[in-house]
Amino acid sequence: MSDVCIVGIGIHPFGRTDGLSGLDQGVFAVRQALADAGVDWPQIQFAYGSSDAAGNPDTMVDRLGLTGVQFINVRNGCAAGGSALFSAQMAIKSGEFELGLAVGFDKHPRGAFNALPSEYNLPDWYGEAGYMVTTQFFAAKIMRYMHMFGISNETLARVAEKAFRNATHAPHAWRRQPVPIEEILAAPLVSDPYTKYMFCSPAEGGVALVLASEKKARELGKPLVRLKAATMRTRPPHSFEVFAPSVDVVADDSMPRGTATRIASADAFRLAGIGPGDIDVAQLQDTEAGAEIMHMAENGFCADGDQERWLSEGRTEIGGALPVNTDGGCLACGEPIGASGLRQVYENVVQLRGDGGGRQVPGHKRGSGPKTAYSHVYGAPGVSAVTILER
């Protein structure tokens, strides 16, 4: 079967853009992606759009042109963007279409996400008691992981420090001022062990990707960035997830539990026919500093506990053996739920094309720049999406 290729990318800067709706930011990204691919809107045969809190993506046909195009909306928690991309590549793989679009955007109010128990099939008292707070889960998950595998607060701080430093070179990032490790560690705690610099903030932004069959990509004369795998998976039994009034006991609780991430990752590597050691650059969900740490292991890049050494040795720096979150990830870009998964893929295409400027991965593993790129998102209540790109 021929590969699906990414032939155009567009992004509206992440962060806060007063006066511009989430949908407007999505339209901005689509126009940029179309121009990048060298195609016009009427050539687009289908679109999948993801947004969690900024309205129905398909309504953007108002702005882009009433061509009658097929346009399907996707809402899938933090995996929404990944789900849109998965669906888009299936539409091409099936042979139904040759050229289409995956677009994601969002615009969240300031402050923590405000979830209600009824949206998650939970009783009202659970919210009244103060547990509908996503940061509690993330903090409790890393607290146990640190206890089990000897991860230090300094390592958490190193992740955040790297994010803001990488972001200084990423025009689409939000928080682009470096913050010293000491300041990250001394900042007010939000939810122990995390200080305010170790959590991402809900934000705004838009990303669009134009996808084409290999045949169409060759016609367009674009460099072939191949989507070798795109997977979206849900959680296995006994996993620990956000908004959990209870968690299963297991016979042996001395190792991390199964997660949607582990399943999505293993399947993506199987589909791509390569392993974690073959990846040149990775974007791993880092909604908080510990997420990047745990996701390094859950995606198979290192053993549990090795992160302590990896971070202190700089292995995940842009010049390291496996650069992680080269644009600063969610920590520096913020989290517009519908757009984050696609931002990771955008960043990977930038890296594979060699357009990363000050944040470009040298790709010394094989000489001339990175050849393979990995992206991963995780969301409530136990969903994950992974992609592997190759040029």
Binding site: L116, P123, D124, W125, G127, A129, G130, M143, S246, V249
Partner: protein, 132 residues
Amino acid sequence: MRAIAEGLFTDETPPRLLGGRERATGRVVFPCPAGDSCDPVPLAREGRLWSYTVQRYRPKTPPYAGPEAFAPWIVAYVELPGEVIVEARLVGVDFGAVRIGMPVRLVPLALDPEAAEPLAIPAFAPMEGTRA
């Protein structure tokens, strides 16, 4: 003290938490869901701390119904051996002295002690004279 919701605690003194045992699988969950998929089952009063964090800012209202004046509190996951791990408050211990694995016992807590009619939520406290 009245419970924040029906079916969370047993009626005995002192109370226990009420979980649910899934009829099809035997798996224990908390709280016991409505419907007939689960049989209510009283849970152990004592367990060990599985993980925790400290809630450092006041959650948004709604849905949070705690007092306006906010002081940070501990969110705990407590493993009740062979049954289930439950989410609850942890009280009676300094934040810096909390240790994963420490033995704890159920002590229902008023969500807002100043309320005209305080409502009890699940909470645990370290067991006296024990060490993690």
